[in-house]
Amino acid sequence: MTEVLEFMFGSYIYFVTAFFIGVNATYTILLIRSYREILAYMRHNTFSNYRVMVQSELTPPVTIIAPAYNEEATVVESTRSLLKLNYGNYDVIVVNDGSKDETLNVLRREFSLFPSNQLYIPTLETERVRGIYKSEKPEYRNLMVVDKENGGKADALNAGINAARYEYVCCIDADSLLEEEALLRVMKPFLEDETVIAAGGIVRIANGCRVVNGRVIDVALSTKLLPIFQVVEYFRAFLSGRMAWHGMNGLMIISGAFGMFKKSALLEAKGYNRHTVGEDMELVTRLHKIKRDRKEPYRIVFVPDPVCWTEAPESARVLARQRNRWHRGLLETILLHGTMLFNRRYGVIGSAAMPYFLFVELLGPLIEFAGYLAVGGMFVAGILDVRMAVLFFVVALFYGIMFSVGAVLLEELSFQRYPRPRDLALLLAFGVIENFGYRQLTILWRVKAFWDYFVRGVRSWGAMQRKGFAEAAAS
């Protein structure tokens, strides 16, 4: 019996070691590629005069779509911030997705909305649109509110796409704040290259920042632990992950919080998938699939400096729900587009990006979780080489820290949005601390996502409580 156990655990440990080496080699490659890409972007940006985009009448107009569900606390401030962006010609469409709270009424009151005769062409299938509202006030003439029955975020975005009148649509979360120049910056790749069909910007965490009139005016870290952990995580995801995939045209996700698309490409793809919780990733993967199936030249890009500020969960309960949802979304996307996996027809997507998302992002937590169980089992069975296990843990720990520090390094080399040396020291420290507890917790949440998806059959979003930026910033 002991021999069998020893063989099983031993084999698993060898597998985990091989997996560990593979994952860390991948992370290293991504980090190096990101560094190169960010450097190239920074150089290129030195010669970009965004003023011409504001001044020239040739700048293409944009429609911003912000779906809102029970967002009465933040929707007015977010909408106001969207209406104040630095961009020539743009519309803002807020889609009220059948909110049960006062979202629609606060919008109607604040922006003097009236029921409009605006023509609505339901090109993409959505839940019933109850009405379209526009503002009586000339200063809000570019605002439209689409009121519809509840159908989820993807459904609301599709309704917004139907109502959009311009070729470029920017999909954002109604609870996010865009920086004044964000639209200009995310739009630039479309102007430089006709084949760009989608572009994503960076999402940063607003908790701890000073927000005045819908603008982040002082960037700082939160005083609470969870948001700081998430800042480091976001650096890793955006700066050292997406930037590298962008360089290979292998970007598989554009965050739902902030992405710009060509409307024609969205219509070609029949809009967002209404039956998945990871609609942002699923859409981008589908766009890749469609374009590669048709052998059409295209690019999906990531732009690292147009910032979208978002309120991060501050309680473990809400964060757990968010991570659980993200992981289920990833799982659904991989299941839906499994045919692309290791398929040479899909180029870098099929041969690198999808395998990465499958083995590293999706199965990684499961393998790591099973690794902890195996170590526990071996210890109980008395067959654990404690010295080796401790050393392995130390290596894993330091590699985890290395990639966190690497991501902070990328931020410091490029955008330096956290000006205080104290904040930098804190971020570096949290890159270390996160490996003791926080990392394991997120693994647990993500493992639970498998259980929820396959066993409990959970397909819903779950609620996210918002405090509003003024309050969130204070924390």
Binding site: F47, V52, S56, L58, L119, I121, L191, G406, P421, L424
Partner: protein, 373 residues
């Protein structure tokens, strides 16, 4: 000690080394950068004051060029001797500060002061340095040099900048373009438009600002560009001719709209005719409304919307009845701008039983008349 253990330990040491070095380096750099930045600012302030004085010092007027240059050089003696005695790192820092000050001053100066500034720039060897950088293999250095040469009005670099219009990197081409405009004025448009290939929309935006600044002076160059072989240049010229409202461009644009071999270009020219709002184009636009190409029909409808002539009401009413929704909407908008007869037709359509027709009419009426239309 087993081999596995040694490997694992080596990995741990490697990762630890990386973390410690990077983290320490980052923190030290953050503090050092703050100091460097303060120092750079101090130097910038110092040289701003110094060069402001040097630019204001009187020189003998009416003297020949050589004498004036000698006077300019005498103004720099002190600064140059100071630099000569500085250690290389310090010298570099000071030269960078001087370069920045001179470049920043260049945007506000003209006449004799600008001549003097240019002389200073040359005398410090900045022009030679920048010209040498134009040959660099690194595109960002070429682009930077192209930009600086333009800012400093380095006329001697015109030829090199012109050749950069064909550089492999778009940023270099754009910077060369901007600099040539500064150096040659409106005459730069000819080489720029002639050498341009597949210009992106971004380049179009930058060029559009240049063309707008030249106003009607740009007109002959744009008309000439209508016959250039590169389609993107032709499209740009059409866009700008309509954007800047050169009514004299109606005839050439009508020719393009009618007979250019490419439909995209014809459609663009058709829309441009609408923007110019000249009724001479009306007959052609009516004819294009019946063209088999949908893009041409759509462009003609949009053009008629801009012109807003009552004589178009019958044909627009007809277009509003059938066809793709976007075209019908466009025809309704055109009707709304075709005088009282058009509005009456639209109001009638607003009460029709045909749901789509009514929706189109109400939509357009609301756009025109606002709330409660």
């Amino acid at each position: 000690m087993s081999v596995e253990l040694i490997i694992v330990a080596a990995l741990a040491v490697g990762a630890t080394f990386f973390v410690v070095v990077v983290a320490t380096g980052l923190l030290i750099n953050k503090v050092a950068e703050a100091r460097r930045s303060k120092k750079r600012e101090r130097l910038y302030q110092f040289y701003s004051g110094l060069f402001a004085d040097l630019l204001l010092q009187p020189v003998l007027e009416g003297e020949d060029g050589e004498t004036v240059r000698k006077q300019y050089e005498s103004l720099l003696t002190e600064v140059k001797s100071g630099l000569a005695w500085s250690p290389p790192a310090q010298k570099l820092l000071h030269r960078q500060a001087i370069g920045s000050v001179l470049i920043d001053f260049s945007s506000d100066l003209s006449g004799e002061s600008m001549d003097r500034l240019q002389y200073f720039f040359e005398s410090f060897g900045f022009v030679q340095d920048e010209v040498a950088l134009l040959k660099s293999r690194k595109w960002w250095l070429r682009a930077q040099a192209a930009r600086d040469l333009g800012l400093l009005h380095a006329m001697s670099a015109t030829e090199r900048l012109t050749s950069l219009l064909e550089d492999s990197h778009p940023d270099v081409r754009n910077q060369a373009m901007q600099s040539l405009v500064k150096l040659l004025g409106v005459d730069s448009l000819r080489p720029i438009l002639r050498k341009a290939r597949n210009i992106s929309r971004w380049t179009s935006l930058e060029l559009s600002m240049i063309v707008k600044n030249f106003e009607e002076q740009a007109y002959p160059y744009l008309i000439e560009a209508l016959s250039y072989p590169d389609q993107s240049v032709v499209l740009f010229a059409i866009e700008m001719l309509s954007e800047t409202g050169f009514v004299a461009a109606v005839e050439p644009l009508m020719n393009v709209a009618e007979s250019y071999p490419n439909i995209v270009v014809r459609a663009k020219a058709t829309e441009a005719l609408g923007r110019l709002g000249d009724q001479r184009a009306e007959t052609l636009l009516h004819r294009l409304l019946k063209n088999p190409y949908p893009s041409l029909r759509a462009s003609a409808t949009r053009a008629l919307e801009r012109i807003g002539s009552p004589s178009s009401v019958p044909i627009l009413s007809e277009r509003m009845q059938t066809g793709p929704l976007a075209e019908r909407l466009s025809a309704a908008r055109a009707l709304a701008r075709s005088g009282e007869r058009g509005m009456v037709r639209l109001r009638v359509a607003g009460e029709e039983t045909d749901q789509t027709m009514r929706a189109i009419a109400l939509h357009v009426l609301e756009e025109i008349e606002g709330v409660g239309a």
